[in-house]
């Protein structure tokens, strides 16, 4: 290669010999052709395999359903013994699909087919000796078969990544084991992940739904040390849990109301939706005091209003009504109006009109289409009222039919 350098210039020109250029083009073209040939080859092979297997799959599906629903005893072992390797392979694929759609007695029966195919034993072997993806695949099968292996197997081999720990917890959930909440939370929150994937959040929810106590205990101990993203996710899960724990230590949720991150404070308010009945907790929160008014982030105030709306008792409604007179942010005002609406006479005057102190900050500047001054909360209230009216109309199916019949 010849390098021509001009001492007076900062740039350097490189002259490539034609032979090298030709060789590079040939190599590139050959590589491209090889890729095309390999891709076509794989596609043709896959297509031939699919064509060969389609009738096999149809026959197996029919036989599977016939044994599942058409007989008193499916006799899986006898059937599996008559199948070829290809048929067994295809049957596993079918079993995977059906196990995802069924539960109850039919799913239990299909799980026995999985045992007849030896899937459970193979999955245990893969967990013990396989690589990462073999272990994940094995955990998926055990979850589908609702078959929890020994905890020592999970604890020894399934802790490499948050995904793998979530998959292990999912097996316990599917098998409805008695140690689901304790072992599940241990697996999920071990090594304190920065945040969960969607699968991880869903698993955390499922693990905590039957018994939230282990999650709450863990959060009470470690919440402050977690990353904000993880804090937000745990609060999100807490918000959606239907199982309310009476004597649980929720001081960590109240502490999160003062977290430096607005998204964590917002999630903390929503996590309290289900705890309006807890007077002690309410007193600790001080929702009726200046806590909400002093909150600088409108999105957090909006979440606080939604929580008060979910509580919905006299004290909460009074706090909402008081806030209606002073909320300066448009979006937070709409959230406030929506929170208050279910607890107010929809045909009565807007709550903000009863503010005895006159126009509040942010309420005196809005101007209506006709040029008149409009009370900002009144505008939010009317919007909410209109939205609720249309929502009722859209959902009133029998009313719609009556109107239609009358018109005819």
């Amino acid at each position: 290669m010849t390098v021509i350098a001009d001492p007076s210039s900062a740039t350097t020109a490189v002259a490539i010999p034609p032979v090298a250029l030709t060789a590079a083009v040939v190599v590139l073209a050959a590589s491209l052709a090889a890729v095309v040939i390999v891709t076509l080859g794989y596609s043709l092979r896959a297509d031939r395999r699919r064509r060969r297997r389609t009738p096999i799959r149809a026959d197996l599906r029919s036989a599977l359903l016939d044994r599942l629903y058409g007989r008193d005893e499916p006799a899986w072992d006898e059937w599996v013994a008559t199948l070829s390797t290809t048929e067994r392979d295809e049957l596993e694929s079918l079993l995977d699909v059906y196990l995802r759609e069924l539960r109850g007695r039919d799913a239990d029966s299909l799980a026995e087919l999985g045992v007849a195919l030896g899937i459970d034993e193979r999955a245990r072997r893969d967990i013990a000796d396989g690589g990462y993806w073999e272990r994940i695949h094995a955990l998926v099968w055990l979850a589908l078969l609702r078959d929890a292996p020994d905890r020592s197997l999970l604890e020894t081999h399934c802790r490499e990544t948050p995904r793998e720990r979530a998959a292990a917890a999912r097996v316990l959930y599917a098998a409805e084991t008695t140690d689901l909440a304790t072992t599940g939370i241990e697996l999920l929150l071990e090594a304190e992940p920065r945040s969960f994937s969607v699968f991880g959040i869903d698993t955390l929810y499922r693990v905590s739904e039957t018994d939230p106590a282990p999650l709450f205990e863990r959060a009470a101990a470690d919440f402050e040390t977690w990353e904000p993203a993880l804090q937000q996710q745990v609060l999100l899960v807490t918000r959606h849990l239907h199982t309310v724990v009476g004597g649980a230590d929720l001081s960590w949720v109240i502490g999160a109301l003062s977290n430096p991150e607005p998204r964590v404070r917002s999630a903390a308010w929503r996590a309290l939706d289900a705890y309006g009945w807890n007077r002690g907790l309410r007193a600790d929160i001080g929702a009726g005091s200046d806590r909400i008014a002093d909150e600088p982030a409108p999105s957090v105030r909006a979440s606080a209003y939604r929580a008060l709306g979910a509580w919905g008792d006299t004290e909460a409604v009074t706090a909402l009504r008081a806030a209606a007179g002073s909320e300066p942010d448009d979006r937070a005002r709409v959230a406030l109006a929506r929170a208050l609406f279910p607890h107010w006479d929809p045909d009565g005057p807007a709550p903000g009109r009863w503010d005895p102190d006159g126009p509040a900050p942010g309420r005196e500047n809005a101007v209506g289409s006709d040029g008149d001054a409009v009370d900002p909360f009144d505008a939010a209230w009317r919007w909410t009222s209109e939205h609720a009216r249309f929502d009722r109309l859209a959902r009133n199916i029998s009313g719609a039919r009556t109107r239609e019949v009358t018109r005819r």
């Binding site: 059906y98 995802r100 799913a107 199916i397």
Partner: protein, 134 residues
Amino acid sequence: MNQPCRRTVTKSAVIADDDETIRSILQYKLSNAGFDLTVCHDGEAGREALNDPDADPDIVILDVMMPRLKGTQLLRTVRRGELAVDPDVPVIMLTSRGTEDDVLEGLESGANEYLTKPFSPNELLARVERLIGV
């Protein structure tokens, strides 16, 4: 698929689901229970089946998320009397969307029952029989 030997066709059902697995389960379970079935692969085909002047099913089973027409939209058109089928025909929604909002939306659309996947075909059949008074 073998036909059930004890089949007596006295009841009929329309099924609309884009998932072949679910369709196969419902077909087998309901035909075993003596139902004459009209099976549709999407919402629009379901609408056509329910708009047939001869359509008089005892029960309709709909998936929520289907190509061309959602199950909830189809159900609303049924309940509004816009199709040939009896607007009060019992309808079961069968779907993987199982959050509280989804269930409420399904029931508010006029569904008599709302089952989430994974589901128990035995439970489904019990609900079908309760709805049609078998």
